[in-house]
């Protein structure tokens, strides 16, 4: 039977919070990389679009 609060949830609480934090940081890293690459005028997505700074 699956209960809303199971002792498994309690046992894995620390691990789940840790994993959540890692995923959050990962999203931040991907976002940061995108901003930096776009700022440099690099066509990171291969769309043919470049940043305004690079175009100028």
């Amino acid at each position: 039977m699956i209960r809303a609060t199971h002792e498994l949830h309690e046992r894995r609480k620390g691990r789940n919070f840790g994993l959540g934090l890692i995923l959050f940081v990962f999203v931040g890293i991907v976002f940061g990389m995108t901003i930096v690459k776009m700022g440099n005028g690099e066509d990171v997505l291969g769309t043919g679009m470049v940043s305004q700074e690079a175009a100028q």
Partner: protein, 314 residues
Amino acid sequence: MSDTSVHSIPGTTEPELRDYFALLKPRVMSLVVFTALVGLLVAPIPVHPFLIFTSVLFIAIGGGASGALNMWWDADIDRIMRRTRKRPIPAGRVSEGEALGLGIALSGLSVMMLALSANLVAAGLLAFTIFFYVVIYSMLLKRWTPQNIVIGGAAGAFPPMIGWAVATGGVSVESLLMFMLIFIWTPPHFWSLALFMNSDYDDAGVPMLTVTHGNDATRTHILAYTVLLAAASLALAFTPIGGPVYLVTALVLNARFLHGAWRVYRRTTEAATADAYGVEKRFFKLSLWYLFLHFTALLADAFLRAIGLFGGAA
């Protein structure tokens, strides 16, 4: 059967994040981070600080992934060796399947993300490093030949090359010599460890040179590789990334390392047993400082160049 019994295996504890982190061999990762960072910073092409951070992070994760795959493959001998018995798999904290899954997932992730963060050359070198450490070293060489450490040492020597490739997008004499420095340093470093941890490798059936050819042959090999290492170390001083700090550091460290290797070479097993392998242990510790200070000196010269001293453009 209650649902509690499905999720709880008697006698085992729930693995925590730190157990998974331990699978990544954090101590090896610290060496990977340091040497990759130096390789990147001494390169002549500047990189955005955020991309330095992300690139080194993904190189470290790639190194960690290969560590997890190595622990998955070597779980059987890790249970036997005193040095490795407390690792997460032999200690029963993480299952072999979890280590395999984590290793494969992080390998793929790190290579793809390095390609995005830096370039395909750096990502390709990282992929090759993981392949080399897991397949060539762990699966093929480690249990087969006493030259395991010599050839397998290449895996640990790639990080500064990858760091250099992150900045330059290629390979050059400077990055090859940084590779050679770690590559030739690895055998005397590990063989000196094997001299005083001999029984471990013997019990596990790993054909370390100490097991197959004995301590005397190992001592000769340590001296021979230390001479070769001095040549590679000094050659790096005369490349564009070398400088006065590196030259002085290399001269002092090589003099000390050669002296240490000579003392190890002159020892007999009886003398070593009498003082609990004191000379060999000191040589092993010196080897750690040797590598750390060489790369620190490269960084110091890069800094001096950046502020316009000793050949700087500022």
